[in-house]
């Protein structure tokens, strides 16, 4: 069986949860042939893989959002005919989008995105859209916003996915559209797994963004809603990792029959008998398994540590993760530490967590945004209590879902709340019994609901149900 795996902005360029998940999946299904179709951001990243691709990856196609290759101007520019214009119109007005015809158009013709975007037909359509909802804005700004929205879109879908037995995309957005295209062109099934909800993430980014004006932000957000809707409509099954996200998907238009949950899983037996703390070590070891990047809100963590240190003088903090990803942010964290004067804070860089987790007493995660962090599962498997912020699946992992009465695996606190984070850490720090009870609850939960075996067998079921029997001739 050949699976076309479609990823956007993660694998294999960025080290992180989703990329690792993909790597694990591909490695586990070693009998399946994978073709990786990946969408990156900058052309410079081409070929710069942060993961060694497993043997069963037979093809890699890379496309980039920011590419110079938008097609040179040809002698006779392509003229969009009346039917095609109507199809584009449905796309641009976001009314009963004729996706099938959009896919046919882009796969059958030799399209140069700039040619269409600078053509008369597109201008006419732009004016229609303009009069519909944006007739008070500056027209030329509107036109260029529209062009900048569709340029990456056209660039990406003019590189259709190859034929495969199953299309598995790891987000909605452009990846989801590509998978939908594959399904339509080759009449093969489409499995969608969403870690974070792409649409919500883009919406948050755009709201905060400086690079576009207020009234155009709405246009961008609607554009992304449109892309996800396409994926939800075309997918045969839509997988999320936890309940909150499933609810979000349904809210965004996914039919609830398609929506299922397959949570992340880890091989918890590997985390059970890890090297523990030195007997002689008196200090309270508090650890965070995070890359030093803004979304993990390291700065809040540092400030919380600072408060903890004042109450628990023999505490030691370990920030275990790569510091290379955002050197600027790392510098800022160092400066913050210096200005606070906190001692006993260690940046370990990228390490093998298994060597360190066992030595921790408390684990902390203060991210602003998360899906279902593997790091929490790892910590729970190792029997460590957690202090986590209430984002994504974190509280579901720590407190359990409705029919789970295994107990709390830690304390859930609000994001960016230095005081609450600090007091949660201090509470755990002063109560070894609580730590042990919570750690045990965590272990039991991971074993019961988040095992690697379950994860693999559920995806195997998916693949077989949708794609047919699993076998691949070398």
């Amino acid at each position: 069986m050949k699976v076309c795996l479609i990823a956007e902005g993660c694998y294999p360029y960025v080290v992180g949860g989703v990329s690792t998940w993909i790597q694990t999946l591909i490695s586990e299904f070693s009998d399946v042939e994978f073709c990786v179709h990946t969408i990156g951001v900058n052309e410079e990243d081409r070929g710069r893989f942060k993961y060694e691709l497993p043997q069963n990856v037979t093809e890699v196609h890379e496309i980039f959002l920011n590419t110079k290759n938008t097609g040179a101007k040809r002698k006779t520019a392509y003229r969009v005919d009346a039917v095609e214009k109507d199809v584009l119109k449905s796309l641009m007005l976001n009314e009963n989008v004729r996706w099938n015809e959009v896919f046919d158009f882009f796969s059958q013709k030799e399209i140069h995105p700039m040619e269409i975007l600078m053509g008369k037909e597109f201008l006419d359509l732009a004016m229609e859209v303009y009069y519909k909802s944006y007739s008070r804005t500056v027209f030329v700004d509107f036109l260029w916003t529209l062009r900048s929205m569709y340029l990456p879109f056209f660039t990406i879908i003019k590189n259709p996915v190859p034929e495969a037995d199953l299309y598995h995309s790891v987000s909605t957005g452009y990846a989801g559209v590509l998978a939908s295209m594959g399904k339509h062109l080759y009449n093969k099934p489409f499995l969608l797994t969403e870690h974070g909800i792409y649409t919500r993430e883009r919406e948050e980014e755009i709201i905060k963004a400086q690079w576009t004006k207020g009234y155009f932000k709405d246009m961008w957000i609607q554009h992304f809603y449109k892309l996800s809707r396409c994926a939800y409509d075309y997918a045969d099954k839509v997988v999320s990792l936890f309940f909150v996200n499933r609810d979000l998907q349904i809210e965004l238009g996914c039919s609830d029959e398609k929506a299922i949950i397959i949570p992340n899983g880890i091989q918890e037996e590997k985390y059970v008998d890890l090297p523990g703390k030195d007997e002689a070590e008196e200090a309270l070891a508090i650890g965070a398994i995070v890359r030093v990047v803004p979304i993990k809100d390291i700065k809040t963590m540092i400030m919380a540590f600072n408060e903890v240190k004042m109450q628990v003088p023999n505490a030691k903090f370990y920030i275990m993760g790569s510091t290379d990803e955002d050197p600027e942010y790392y510098e800022e964290c160092i400066k913050l530490l210096d200005s606070l004067g906190t001692t006993d804070v260690v940046f370990t860089g990228r390490v093998d967590v298994k060597a360190y987790i066992g030595k921790m007493d408390i684990l902390v995660l203060t991210s602003i945004s998360e899906a279902q962090p593997i790091s929490i599962l790892e910590g729970m498997a190792a029997g460590k209590p957690w202090v986590v912020t209430n984002v994504g699946a974190c509280s579901e992992l720590i407190e359990g879902t409705t029919d789970d009465n295994l107990g709390s695996a830690g304390l859930v606190v609000p994001t960016m709340n230095i005081g609450r984070i600090a007091s949660a850490i201090i509470r755990l720090g002063k109560d070894p019994g609580l730590r042990r009870r919570m750690g045990d609850a965590g272990q039991r939960r991971v074993r019961k609901y988040y095992s690697h075996q379950d994860f693999i067998s559920k995806y195997l079921e998916m693949y077989e149900m949708l794609g047919g029997a699993l076998s691949w001739q070398a």
């Binding site: 201008l123 004016m127 303009y130 027209f139 030329v140």
Partner: protein
């Protein structure tokens, strides 16, 4: 070009006859200065030749030398001038003014080079006294330089200074002429020739001084402007086609039954050349009307349209576009009507009065056709100006190409037919190109949205 219109409008608005007169004077100086100059020069020379009883043959030689000097210097300078003006205005707009002075040196060098390549062999093989050849060649060269300089002075909008420059030149020329004739007792023919050359030398010197004091910096990029010829070769070719077309019918008739050979050197046609000179004179008012009224009115609406495109809503753009198109139509019709009346009136007056001034026979037969011919040529030229406003370089090329081709074709054909058909070449060329231009402009305006938003010339909204 629009710059002068606005200055003049200001002048005209200040009521009073004197101001109006000043306005017309300045408008004339910059747009039709060269031709006025020719008129004055020829009149003066005509008078002098009568006063000093110069033999007919010598008159012919002198007139031909002057004619050749004017025509060829104008063709060379104008062809280069179209692209040069673009270079200068771009540099001013981009605030890279240090590049302007060296381009002046460079363009003077270029123009001198071209006149040299063409003029020196011509005068070496001419059967003329060496001193005369030298004078005639100098006149050619200095006129080319004057025309190039005029482009620079126009760019800095010192139109008044152009007038002053010619005045200074005239006075200097008259003084030197008197000196040469009365003190040094030199032959009147040579006196006139060299006095003219000096006149323009002083004109050029003054204009050079004006430009030099305006632009202080010098970046030493003498030939950077040559790059513009590659980038704007369409503009260059259009300009060349136009100016060549303006005189090519004369060239053709120099070799016709009514052509003359003067001193075995110059080919001309006294009859045809005089008729075309009079025809051009008849239509000069068109240029003044265009610059003062037509272009200024249009320019305002055009600017409003550009601003709307850059920062307005679609409704605002549509309104500005309608307004601009309306004004364009209105102004074009205005000048077409008004100038036609003027031209027809002057033709009638001419037919009645010119015999009294000594013009007779064939000249009076050809003159009305050529007058109408120049009328249509000027109308065509104005359309080209508007095409340039919308950066339709291709359109301008088509129109000027049609003009040149038709003029050459029909002129050549009519040479073989009777004299009653002479002059139709120019008329046919002008009318054909005018019609072509009109439809081109109409289509352009209809598709102006596409033109503005879909041609990837970022922000080339000029002026």
């Amino acid at each position: 070009m629009a710059g002068i219109g606005f200055e003049l409008k200001k002048l005209f608005r200040k009521s009073g006859f004197f101001n109006v007169f000043k306005g017309v004077l300045y408008a004339s100086a910059s747009t039709i200065g060269p031709i006025i100059l020719v008129i004055i020069a020829l009149l003066v020379i005509h008078t002098l030749m009568n006063v000093f009883n110069i033999p007919y043959i010598q008159r012919e030689i002198l007139s031909s030398a002057i004619l050749y000097a004017f025509v060829f210097s104008l063709i060379i300078a104008t062809s280069i001038g179209t692209v040069l003006s673009r270079y200068i205005s771009d540099k001013i707009f981009n605030e890279e003014e240090a590049d302007i002075i060296p381009s002046l040196y460079g363009s003077i060098a270029l123009v001198t080079g071209i006149t040299g390549i063409l003029g020196i062999p011509f005068y070496i093989f001419a059967r003329l006294p060496g001193l005369f050849s030298f004078g005639a060649y100098s006149l050619l060269m200095i006129l080319a330089i004057v025309f190039v300089l005029m482009h620079y002075v126009s760019a800095i909008k010192e139109y008044r200074k152009i007038t002053i420059a010619f005045l200074i030149g005239t006075i200097a020329g008259a003084m030197i002429g008197s000196l040469l004739f009365y003190i040094f007792k030199i032959d009147i023919i040579y006196v006139i020739l060299y006095a003219m050359a000096c006149c323009f030398l002083f004109t050029a010197a003054y204009m050079f001084f004006v430009i030099r004091s305006f632009f202080k910096a010098d970046s030493k990029k003498y030939f950077e402007f040559l790059g513009y010829f590659r980038e704007y070769k369409l503009i260059f070719i259009s300009g060349f086609f136009y100016i060549l077309g303006l005189y090519v019918h004369n060239f053709i008739f120099w070799f016709s039954p009514i052509g003359n050979v003067v001193a075995d050197t110059y080919r001309c046609s006294y009859t045809y050349d005089m008729a075309s000179f009079l025809g051009m004179l008849t239509n000069l008012s068109a240029t003044v009307i265009f610059v003062v009224k037509v272009e200024t009115n249009f320019h305002q609406r055009y600017q409003r349209y550009c601003y709307a495109v850059m920062g307005g809503s679609l409704d605002e753009i549509k309104i500005a576009k309608k307004d601009m198109a309306r004004i364009l139509n209105h102004e074009l019709f205005f000048i077409t009507e008004v100038q036609l009346i003027i031209t027809l009136t002057l033709i009638c007056a001419g037919i009645a009065l010119l015999p009294m001034l000594g013009f007779g026979g064939l000249i009076l037969d050809i003159y009305p056709i050529l007058a109408l011919g120049y009328y249509s040529v000027f109308m065509m030229y104005f359309i080209i100006v508007f095409l340039y406003y919308f950066d339709d370089q291709k359109g301008a090329l088509y129109v000027s190409g049609i003009f040149l081709a038709t003029t050459i074709l029909i002129s050549s054909v009519t040479v073989g037919m009777g004299t009653v058909f002479y002059g139709l070449g120019l008329l046919a060329g002008g009318v054909a190109a005018w019609i072509a231009g009109f439809f081109r402009l109409k289509t352009l305006l209809r598709n102006i949205d596409y033109h503005m938003f879909c041609n990837i010339s970022e922000g080339k909204v000029s002026e």
